[in-house]
């Protein structure tokens, strides 16, 4: 049996990928794992509930990036689009070695935010999408906590709990100029 395929081209972590023949019915998380060897996006529930598999969908028109669940979104949805996976957050040298973590990644480490780490790629993605939104639409200081809660509410963690993720994201928001007004 051969699966029907269609050529797929997209930008992943700033790098042009494809065209690659990809099965029409493949979900994005499988494409990342099996075709690009980007295994950091976690497949857990497989039904869009836990948000461990999310990636950033980047908008070329300057709109804030969006968080997309790759376990329930087809690979071909991303044709011609640009995404950032968990592998694309840190700065790297020419050989691909990590030279500096992103602000969110660094904050999660400093706050001991995760234990097993399975949910962490999703939390990094969700928190980064939130920070990018606040750069464009800052919130009042009084609304910071509720904004974090609303933005990260769908993400599921089963070991460390949520408090340390929450505190890490709050520290990034309060320590980064321009995200909070008043």
């Amino acid at each position: 049996m051969t699966l029907p395929t269609t050529p797929l081209s997209l930008v992943v972590n700033g790098r042009q990928v494809g065209p690659i023949d990809v099965p029409d019915n493949l979900m994005m998380v499988d494409f990342l794992h099996e075709y690009l060897n980007l295994t950091g996006s976690r497949l857990a529930c497989g039904q869009g509930v836990c948000w461990a598999c999310t990636v950033m969908l980047l908008d070329t028109d300057g709109a804030p990036p969006r968080e997309i669940r790759t376990c329930i979104t087809g690979a071909h949805f991303f044709a011609g689009k640009s995404v950032r996976t968990i592998e694309g957050h840190a700065e790297r040298d020419a050989d691909g070695n990590v030279t500096a973590l992103s602000l969110v990644q660094q904050a999660f480490i400093e706050h001991f935010s995760f234990q097993c780490g399975y949910c962490t790629p999703g939390f990094v993605t969700g928190a980064t999408v939130l920070i990018e939104r606040l750069k464009r639409e800052p919130v009042a200081r009084a609304d910071v906590e509720s904004t974090i809660e609303a933005a990260l509410a769908p993400h599921v963690c089963r070991c460390t709990g949520y408090v340390r993720y929450y505190e890490a994201v709050r520290s990034v928001i309060l320590d980064t100029p321009g995200l909070v007004v008043g």
Binding site: M27, Q47, V49, R66, I72, T73, G74, H76, F77
Partner: protein, 428 residues
């Protein structure tokens, strides 16, 4: 002289017409044409023993009549009212029907309660607005009204004042006498001897308790339900309350034996109870007994039920088919299945989905735009469905809905990007 005489007669006739017309109007206004269906038997109060005995039955009848949906506001005190009804002329609020003597109905008599339920006239002769479905409750038996009365009397009194409505003319209430003259049936229909006892019980559950017609029967210019278009479907809160006549239900794919289960569980191969019907399942139909759910289904499905038409896929242009399929796999198939088969306990199938079979696409387009929040169904929580209004273009939503409706609903692919844009504007 002759002209003058004729003129006199014309004036006299006009005066007579005005006086008679005015007199008639005054008589209507005074309630002279109102007909109560409440018997004198309820003038005697229920004894404490009767109240204690009837209250458990009243709990069931009140659930079947979905009283709580309006008379307990979201997050509000039980039976203390407060649910708003926003209307073009102002906002009405459901009233406190707990037995508080000051703020609720604690000072009412048994007869007052019967008249409110079945005549639409509250204690002291104050006319209710038909947001209270007394046109439907009029058909309730006195025994069932007594049971609800006993149930309400055994609730905790809630000292919560009614919220003042914001209608501009408070004296409009009395003019409900005109509305009632047009829209409140004089008599209660007798059981249909040609039909089974189950069918008759089903009609009672649908018409009297469930007051299904209040949403599913279209209303005429006076806002009264149109008997000639009984249960043929109407627009409620911007979406279609479907045609639930036997033919309408057959077209949506509801077999009688399945309909009873759907009313109780709120989900099945036909999809998930959406929009306002989720609340109806949540508050009311999930509590129906096996027999009552079956009776309701038997009545709605018809006796005998019409044969279910075979739903064949409608034709799609190759471009719409390809683009719709691509979009379906991209954003739907992860949960609803590559072939539309659905995923148990997670996402209903598309192949047998009633929403795709509706004549108009507005319900589907609304779900595609907004998604559905997670909800508690009787058999468990169902996860949310995301909305796609900010992820897909209007043209993509049109192609996707045409693909869904044509492939699995057998409906012509007649949704355009302009339709999606118009709906988006109407909702913004």
């Amino acid at each position: 002289m002759i002209i003058r005489k004729v003129w006199h007669r014309v004036v006299l006739a006009a005066v007579v017409i005005v006086v008679l017309g005015g007199g008639f109007a005054l008589a209507v206004l005074a309630g002279a044409f109102e007909k109560s269906v409440v018997s004198a038997a309820v003038d005697t109060p229920l004894s404490p023993e009767e109240i204690a005995e009837l209250a458990p039955k009243g709990r069931y009848i009140a659930a079947a009549a979905d009283c709580v949906a309006c008379h307990t506001a979201v997050g509000g005190a039980p039976w203390a009212g407060g649910r708003p009804f926003e209307m073009p002329v102002g906002t009405l609020y459901a009233t406190n029907i707990s037995p508080d003597p000051t703020y609720g109905i604690g000072s009412w008599t048994r007869a007052d309660f019967h008249r409110a339920m079945r005549d639409g006239v509250a204690k002291g002769g104050r006319h209710l607005y038909p947001a209270m479905p007394y046109v439907s409750y009029r058909q309730m038996s006195e025994a069932d009204v007594d049971a609800v009365w006993a149930y309400m009397l055994t609730r905790e009194p809630m000292a919560v004042p009614d919220r003042q409505d914001s209608l501009p003319f408070p004296y409009v209430r009395q003019f409900m006498t005109f509305w009632n003259l047009l829209n409140l049936p004089g008599n209660v229909p007798a059981p249909d001897a040609q039909k089974s006892a189950e069918w008759n019980r089903g009609r009672y559950l649908v018409d009297a308790l469930g007051h299904c017609g209040e949403c599913h029967t279209p209303r005429d210019i006076t806002m009264g339900m149109m008997p000639s278009r009984y249960l043929e479907g109407a627009v409620i809160e911007g979406v279609d309350a479907p045609d639930i006549t036997p033919e309408g239900l057959a077209r949506l794919g509801f077999a009688p034996d399945r309909l009873a289960g759907f009313m109780r569980s709120g989900m099945g191969p036909e999809g998930v109870m959406g929009f306002a019907m989720y609340d109806v399942v949540h508050h009311s139909t999930q509590y129906l007994t096996d027999d009552d759910a079956a009776a309701m289904a038997a009545y709605l499905a018809g006796e005998p039920a019409p044969a279910a038409p075979v739903v064949a896929a409608a034709d799609l242009s190759p471009e719409t088919a390809a683009n719709g399929r691509r979009l379906y796999v991209a954003v739907c198939a992860g949960c609803h299945g590559i072939e539309g088969e659905g995923t148990p306990s997670m996402a209903p199938p598309m192949t047998t989905n009633a929403e795709l079979r509706l004549p108009r696409p507005v319900n589907l387009l609304t779900v595609l735009a907004d998604g559905i929040p997670w909800r508690d169904f009787p058999h468990g929580r169902l996860q949310d469905m995301p909305g796609f209004s900010d992820l897909l273009t209007d043209g993509e939503i049109a192609d996707l809905s045409n693909y869904l409706r044509a492939t699995w609903g057998g409906r012509a692919p007649d949704v355009s990007a302009a339709d999606v844009a118009a709906l988006r504007r109407a909702r913004d």
